[in-house]
């Protein structure tokens, strides 16, 4: 059977789309965190700068028409409290420069009384400037007292770098969790498919019942077409089985009549050539009617396997019954069928089918062994269930044909002259496998065939 033509994988596609989504989300989260961090860092720097500038502004007093500014120590030292920063300031009254760094530009805001900020480069380093204003009265009337304070960005950069590390960590963690979740989700999304696959492939070779297990809505069309396909298959199969059974049945009666006639003719005939021809004829008729019988049995087996009974069966008892039934045949060849080890062990299944299987194995043991041979049957309980070993002291299976002879209508080279159809072991195998078991053919070390039927725990 050729494997399906595979292109792509739902699970992989699902996983990849989930991962792509997670990656995009991670980048977005990272960028948002970055921009928030930048904003927060800038805002907190601006707040400190404003506080510093305001404390200078607040220290200004106008006395006697002159403006005195008493620079508070903290105004500048607080800008350097956490990280080492270069700090600049400028105090101006109107256009007149009072103190500080004359070149330091002031930040221009929309309203004169609100703090204003700007970023620029001053004395070779990036700085942030905050400017605050207050109107003071001087000799020359009201004037704006302007205080600008600037600070380098070491602290802000350090905060941002730290935050950057944190957000990278968070991003990585977020992505990792997403990967795990995606794996879980894609696995659980394809779970119903796997379940369906498992339930279909677990079935026996002849189990064509419709799938009854619940499936998600997306899979319903697939399952219903699968079910209808199986229904069609089943009808066509049973139709051909019926046809074969019908045909076999119809052949059997005329064959029996022909055989009786041939035997009568044989008894009456005195001519050796005619007798030999009649004997060959009888043998051929035996073969044909055996084939018809086995075909009927096979059809019966197929039918019963369709809805397999699950009753408790005592294997030892079943075996003893089968041996008993065989006595007429075995006694004829003086073959001793002995029940060996008989463990009391039960299996679940259809007694008629199992009986039929055993009958076929015993039939072989009697058919393919010389007169006076011995057949031993052991029923034993094993760790995994039960097994039946049927050993004989005949020539054994032809070594080169062991694999082939379990197939339909396949007979061994030692079957020449022996009546048979080549369906016996096929029936045995089908029955045992339908019970979840296994049939193994082998030859005993000391010669003779050995058929092992293994059954799982009931």
């Amino acid at each position: 059977m050729s494997g399906p033509f595979i292109k792509g994988s739902i699970r992989r596609r699902l996983l990849l789309s989930l991962l792509a989504g997670a990656a995009v989300l991670t980048v977005i989260v990272y960028l948002v965190m970055q921009s928030v961090a930048r904003q927060v860092a800038e805002e907190s720097q601006d707040n400190v700068l404003t506080a510093s500038a305001l404390s200078i502004l607040d220290s200004a007093r106008s006395a006697g028409g002159l403006v005195h500014v008493d620079l508070p120590y903290a105004a500048l030292s607080m800008l350097d409290s956490v990280t080492d920063e270069r700090v600049f300031y400028a105090i101006r009254l109107g256009e007149e420069f009072l103190s500080g760094y004359a070149d330091l530009p002031a930040a221009e805001g929309s309203r004169p009384t609100a703090p204003a900020f700007r970023s620029t480069t001053f004395l070779g380093e990036e700085v942030r400037i905050a400017t605050v204003r207050r109107s003071v009265s001087t000799d020359l009337g009201q004037k704006w007292l302007t205080v600008s304070v600037a600070q380098t960005l070491a602290g802000k950069k350090r905060t941002l770098a730290r935050f950057n590390r944190t957000s990278l960590g968070i991003g990585a963690g977020f992505f990792l969790v997403s990967v795990l979740l995606s794996a879980v989700i894609s696995r659980s999304a394809t779970q119903p498919l796997h379940r369906l696959t498992a339930s279909v492939s677990r079935r026996g070779p002849t189990d064509l019942r419709p799938v009854a297990a619940p499936v998600p809505s997306e899979m319903a069309p697939l399952v219903s077409s699968l079910n209808s396909l199986m229904a069609r298959l089943r009808t066509s199969l049973s139709r051909s089985e019926d046809f074969i059974a019908e045909a076999a049945h119809r052949v059997r009666t005329p064959l029996a009549i022909v055989r009786t006639k041939a035997e009568v003719a044989l008894r009456r005939s005195g001519d050796d050539a005619t007798r030999a021809a009649l004997r060959e004829m009888i043998h051929a008729i035996d073969d044909s009617s055996r084939t018809a019988g086995q075909l009927l049995d096979h059809a019966m087996v197929t039918f019963r396997l369709d809805t397999l009974l699950r009753e408790k069966i005592d294997l030892a008892q079943l075996t003893r019954d089968s041996i008993k039934r065989l006595h007429p045949l075995s006694d004829m060849k003086e073959i001793d069928i002995a029940a060996g080890r008989m463990d009391s062990v039960t299996v679940q299944g259809d007694a008629i089918l199992l009986q039929n299987a055993l009958q076929n194995v015993f039939d072989n043991a009697v058919k393919y062994t010389p007169n006076g041979a011995r057949v031993t049957v052991d029923v034993s309980a094993t760790a995994r269930g039960a097994r039946i070993d049927i050993r004989d002291t005949g020539p054994g299976f032809p070594a080169t044909e062991m694999a082939r002879i379990t197939e339909r209508f396949q007979r061994g080279e030692n079957a020449e002259g022996v009546v048979g159809s080549g369906l016996g072991l096929t029936i045995v195998r089908e029955v045992v496998e339908a019970h979840g078991g296994q049939m193994t053919l082998s030859n005993n070390p000391g010669g003779g065939a050995c058929v092992t039927l293994q059954f799982p725990q009931s």
Binding site: H68, V69, Y73, L76, S77, R86, V87, S99, E125
Partner: protein, 346 residues
């Protein structure tokens, strides 16, 4: 001494007194100048410093023994002259060393310092480094110096409070016999005074008391110590303890680290941004810091001055832009006016 004295052959020290203006230097007043090491050496490192040659010689000797292919050019100037000289881009130095923390901070803040990072600077305590530009390598306390003989049976004051009480109880004895920095002249005196006012109001009370007793004002710590030694002064306030302790006649006066708080100045080094030999400068600064903070650190000042015993009273001046506040011209004018008011009462 761990380091051998510099051999006379290698040392060519010019003791140039008073004013000496080098052709290559843009006009500023220098106090002393010397060259160390092999005069024919291929490379030269130029140092400008406020510290005396004798104070610094061991450092240079140790540096030269590790770097024999270098000559050291060492110029001494006052803190104000030094600051002016470094501000003028025409002057090129590799290392600038000063006790005026505020002026050094201003130089660095104004962008005149080069950033320097190395294994050595990594190990520095936080207070000893600012912005990778300024590096502290000494801790020198402001102390009270008293004449042991003249004090007689009076107890040695241990804090400013004690000192105020002592002066108030014996005004006649101390009139005209107390001295301190003239902070209008001395940058270090100004730094100590401004830091004192930050720490406590006691400074103003003490200044007023000293003013009422007709305090004498000095330019420098060494003059105050000489005055105490000669009997001209009984008490000198805010004297650089390292100078007092390093003198050979140290036993003739008492050195007091005030227990209420002791202001501690840090001598700092920086590499100017226009240093001609920044690699040598970095090596020298690392060498300096290694000797001051490294595992085999050797205190540059006398071991008598044990700062660890101070505990919480240790008021180490913090390097940083706070120091710019008192350099502000408005602030300085106002501070000096208030100080003059307090100190000049007769």
């Amino acid at each position: 001494m761990r380091h051998p004295a510099i051999s006379p052959v290698l040392t060519i020290a010019f003791a140039v007194c008073a004013t000496w203006i080098a052709g290559t230097l843009h006009a500023f007043e220098i106090e002393d100048h010397a060259r160390f090491g092999d005069p024919g050496a291929a490379r030269e490192i130029r140092i400008i410093s406020t510290a005396d040659i004798t104070f610094f010689e061991p450092m240079i000797a140790a540096f030269l023994s590790a770097n024999p292919e270098v000559t050291v050019d060492y110029t001494v100037a006052s803190s104000t002259e030094l600051s002016g000289a470094v501000t003028n881009a025409a002057n090129q130095f590799d290392v600038v060393i000063s006790s005026a923390m505020d002026l050094q901070t201003k130089l660095a803040n104004d962008g005149r310092a080069m950033r320097h990072q190395s294994d050595v600077t990594e190990m520095l305590p936080d207070w000893a480094v600012w912005n990778d530009m300024l590096f502290a390598f000494t801790q020198e306390p402001a102390t009270i110096i008293l004449s042991k003989t003249a004090l007689g049976a009076l107890p040695v004051p241990q804090s400013r409070h004690d000192l105020i009480n002592l002066l108030r109880q014996h005004p006649d004895r101390f009139r005209g016999k107390v001295g301190t920095y003239d902070i209008r002249q001395s940058g270090l005196g100004y730094l100590f005074a401004t830091q004192d006012t930050r720490a406590s109001e006691t400074y103003w009370r003490l200044t007023e008391v000293m003013g009422r007793l007709g305090a004498r004002l000095y330019c420098c710590s060494s003059e105050m110590i000489d005055a105490v030694k000669s009997g001209e002064l009984l008490i000198a306030y805010n004297v650089l303890g390292s100078y007092a302790a390093n003198r050979s006649d140290r036993d003739e006066f008492a050195i007091v680290l005030p227990t209420d708080f002791t202001t501690v100045m840090l001598r700092t080094a920086m590499i100017p941004e226009n240093a001609p030999a920044p690699d040598l400068a970095a090596a020298f600064v690392d060498h300096l810091l290694q000797m001051a903070h490294g595992p085999q650190a050797r205190p540059l000042t006398h071991t008598d001055i044990n700062l660890t015993q101070l505990g919480t009273a240790l008021n180490r001046i913090r390097i940083g832009p706070g120091l710019l506040v008192f350099l502000d011209q408005l602030k300085r004018r106002a501070f000096l006016a208030e100080w003059e008011n307090a100190i000049e009462q007769n």
